[in-house]
């Protein structure tokens, strides 16, 4: 890899005296970097969200989050297991080559190469069949009514380009020459082209003047910088060094309101934050109760949910910016039910009585695992929960760690080493089937469900329902199955839903943009004056 010799011309607007940057240059900051430019390298919302400015899939969500055709003009379920996509004609990649059906077939193949982190998507597809240059069939193993929905984050790469630069396999984290070119370089069909990239420091995009569609925004150039420290990021926004920064700590909203030229932009995020407890082991790993597991007793779980005041957390920790939740899915998620979203009221007295009934009149001790750099105010929520539980006699020892240590401890590879934890989840498909199968189904079975059911909550009916929901095409039937699963999980207090955390963006008043509920910034819709 040779280093490019470039004179970066960004960030010219420094200080008040300096000449203002050209209006159409948009600068923004996020807490972490886009991890790769390879569209099949990492299945992560931020990375895929960034790449969608450069690469495009067959379908795309527009500014109203409606699914519309992108590289496919139309699509149809011609047989239960076959989806036919009619591809858009006259679309060119950034390097000028034509977009055709074999690029789609190639990209599908690339999805399942060794380095790919998109194998979940690859597994949805059994085969592809090229009908002609602009028509392709995607064949699934079983009927899949939501395939197009699930393919939104499947981006198409140019076959010739990939072959020319030896990038036919997805960027492999292990290294080697294969696939590396696509890690730092990009060639999509999207409205923006990658101009330069210095990983971890700065990434520059510029408008693709040959774009097939109409771009609603007026941005000609965009500069992205990761800024890890919250205070530094907020300072960069207020001082005008960037036009947009996210996430902004919720406690800083007032500051942004008061400061000239910037404002907070909040919205409900589709991510639900919840607590969970080990209900599988016969004795908790981290507790003073020996010989039995208090969390196996429904009354203890009910006591916990009553002892935690989500409204107080909303008011004081989240500064009014969270939406208390009764389900593990947010309203934006397909399958959400408002009727089921109620929550037992905050009632420490009743909680204490439930604990006493269960045989713990003086409470017990338990260690809580908590990340401290993953979700909005995660550590503070855990602290607040700990002090609320202290009031019913449960002594919580808080183990708050960085996300790497936290996930390294509580996930499957470490045998779900936790007794009580906080976790957050956004269904990547925006469909309820995802949390039902990943978070709520019994784990360890042959169906391989429940991989993120860290507490080992188990009701076999949910596994049955998960399988049914997967292939049910009748929307009404499907919804009633989802409702049933949610109801069971809720009655048994499988987890304690806390809230949907807010999207917390800070934007310059010069900028108008669209805030998506999955925290993705789409450059297509940004207007700056």
């Amino acid at each position: 890899m040779k280093l490019r010799i470039t004179a970066f011309a960004a960030m010219a607007a420094i200080g008040l005296a300096a000449a203002p940057a050209k209006a159409e240059t948009f600068k923004w900051a996020f807490q972490g970097d886009v991890q790769t430019m390879d569209p099949h390298g990492l299945f992560e919302t931020m990375t895929l969200g960034f790449q969608r400015n450069i690469y495009e899939g067959l379908v795309i969500r527009n500014e109203k989050m409606e699914m519309v055709g992108a590289l496919a003009e139309s699509y149809k379920n011609i047989e239960p297991t076959v989806w036919r996509f009619n591809l858009r004609k006259g679309v060119k990649f950034h390097d000028g080559s034509d977009f055709e059906a074999d690029d789609v077939a190639f990209s599908v193949k690339r999805l399942s190469s060794e380095g790919s982190d998109m194998k979940v998507v690859a597994n949805l597809i059994k085969a592809t069949k090229i009908i002609d240059n602009h028509t392709i069939d995607i064949i699934t193993a079983a009927p899949n009514p939501i395939l197009p929905l699930q393919l939104e984050i499947f981006y198409i790469m140019d076959k010739q380009w990939a072959e020319k630069h030896k990038a036919v396999e997805a960027t492999n984290v292990k290294g080697g020459d294969e696939g590396n070119y696509a890690n730092l370089n990009a060639n999509g069909t999207g409205p923006f082209k990658l101009k330069s990239r210095q990983s971890g420091v700065k990434t520059e995009l510029e408008i693709n003047s040959n774009y097939w569609g109409k771009v609603k925004g007026n941005i000609k150039k965009a500069v992205f910088t990761p800024i890890a420290q919250d205070a530094t990021r907020v300072a960069a926004l207020i001082s005008g060094n960037v036009d947009m920064a996210y996430p902004v700590p919720v406690q800083d909203w007032k500051r942004l309101d008061d400061a000239k030229g910037v404002m907070p932009l909040a919205g409900p995020e589709a991510r639900t934050i919840f607590l969970g407890f080990d209900q599988l082991r016969d004795e908790l790993l981290y507790s003073n109760i020996k010989g039995k597991n208090p969390f196996k007793d429904l009354r203890v779980r009910q006591a916990f949910i009553k002892a935690i005041g989500v409204e107080a957390i909303k008011k004081k920790v989240m500064r009014g910016a969270s939406v208390p939740a009764g389900l593990l899915v947010a309203p934006q998620i397909n399958g959400y039910s408002a009727a089921l979203n109620d929550r037992p009221s905050y009632d420490p007295k009743a909680a204490k009585k439930l604990l006493a009934d269960a045989g713990y009149p003086n409470g017990f001790e338990v260690t809580m695992d908590c990340p401290n750099d993953r979700y909005v105010n995660d550590e503070r929520i855990c602290q607040a929960a700990a002090s609320m539980l202290a009031k019913i006699g449960v002594k919580v020892t808080l183990l708050a760690q960085t996300k790497s240590k936290y996930f390294g401890k509580v996930l499957a590879q470490n045998n779900y080493d936790t007794s009580f934890f906080l976790l957050g989840w956004t269904p990547s498909t925006f469909d309820s089937h995802n949390p039902i199968s990943a978070l709520m189904a019994c784990r360890g079975g042959a169906d391989k469900l429940g991989a993120f059911n860290l507490g080992g909550y188990c009701n076999p009916r949910i596994n049955e329902l998960a399988a049914l929901i997967q292939s049910e095409t009748n929307q009404t039937k499907r919804q009633s199955m989802i409702d049933e699963a949610f109801k069971i999980h809720k009655d048994e207090v499988g987890h304690i839903p806390l809230h949907q955390q807010p999207l917390s963006w800070g934007v310059s008043e010069k900028v108008k943009l669209v805030q998506r509920p999955d925290n993705v910034l789409d450059l297509r819709y940004i207007n700056k004056n």
Binding site: R255, K316, V317, T367, S387, T397, L398, L399
Partner: protein, 313 residues
């Protein structure tokens, strides 16, 4: 009879102290007197924290989230219950500072004593025995000296955590921290003591002691050690301040005491997140406390260095 003589000795000692140059130079310097008073105050308050602090911030059951983020009492929204306001969890800032100073001082003090014993011990041996052992110890010292304390403490902390069983982590977090900071500071003592030992070793009285057959250990501890205490004391005062700051910085890097029992440094780190939101009291008051403490101890150290240096009198 013996009691009287003891009192007399005490009196005589007291008189000697009052007449001494040290006491004279102490009296003459108002800054030093103030520093000593501040340092003493800190020790007093932290030792008797449970009796002085208005609340117990480490008792989770007594904290109410609804009290969170209240400004100091003299502001409009402030409450007299919380003189300096509350933090994001509803803890009383004043009490948290008192309890936090306790942890910071504990970490600082114990780690200084740790490095002092280690450093003085190795320094004495290195200087007295000499040869290969000396070369080895000094090489290790060289290497360590060239690494900043922060990095060493970071490494030690990680290493200790990795070697200890997981269940113990929370209980020993504080001791691990003390150990990490302590071990990163021994070199200064060792080098100083070694140099001093080399000088003393060559003096006639030591040679005389050797000739009359006094045991090596006795010579080391009875004759050489007292001669090196002056500079060691100076290093220790300044090191105490450095240890407290190191603890604060480690907490910024995510290696520190648990957030439910914050030290001064952890408090400042947590408060950092609220600087922009206008809740300055969460970080500024602990910050002032830290500056006062470190400044007082440092100024005391400065004075001690000059007072103990015969050339500067």
């Amino acid at each position: 009879m013996s009691i009287i003589s003891k009192t007399q000795i005490l009196k005589a000692n007291y008189q000697r102290f009052i007449d001494s140059d040290i006491w004279y130079s102490f009296k003459k310097s108002p800054i030093t007197v103030v520093s000593a008073a501040v340092t003493f105050l800190f020790f007093f308050v932290t030792i008797f924290a449970p009796f002085i602090a208005p609340h117990d911030p480490f008792d989770l059951a007594s904290i109410d989230l609804m009290d969170a983020s209240l400004p100091p009492a003299w502001f409009l929204d402030g409450e007299t219950r919380f003189l300096l306001g509350t933090d994001d969890q509803g803890r009383d800032i004043l009490s948290t500072i008192i309890y936090g100073s306790r942890i910071s001082l504990f970490v600082g003090f114990v780690s200084v004593i740790f490095s002092l014993i280690l450093g003085v011990g190795l320094g004495l041996i290195s200087g007295y025995v000499g040869g290969r052992l000396d070369a080895f110890i000094m090489r290790v010292a060289d290497v360590q000296l060239s690494f900043p304390a922060i990095l060493i403490a970071l490494l030690i902390d990680g290493l200790a955590r990795s070697l200890l069983p997981r269940e113990l982590h929370d209980e020993v977090a504080l001791y691990v921290l003390v150990f990490a900071i302590g071990i990163s500071g021994w070199v200064q003592y060792a080098r100083t003591v070694r140099g001093q030992t080399l000088v003393e070793k060559g003096k006639e009285y030591v040679q005389a002691a050797r000739v009359i057959g006094i045991r090596q250990w006795t010579i080391l501890l009875r004759h050489i050690l007292p001669n090196v205490t002056g500079p060691v004391l100076v290093i220790a005062t300044i090191h105490l301040a450095i240890a407290i700051i190191t603890e604060a910085t480690l907490s910024f890097l995510g290696v520190g005491v648990p957030p439910t029992t914050p030290s001064l440094g952890t408090l400042i780190r947590v408060g950092n997140d609220f600087l922009f939101s206008g809740e300055w009291w969460i970080t500024i008051f602990p910050g002032i406390a830290l500056v006062l403490l470190v400044l007082a101890v440092n100024l005391l150290g400065d004075w001690l260095r000059d007072a103990l240096n015969p050339k500067l009198r």
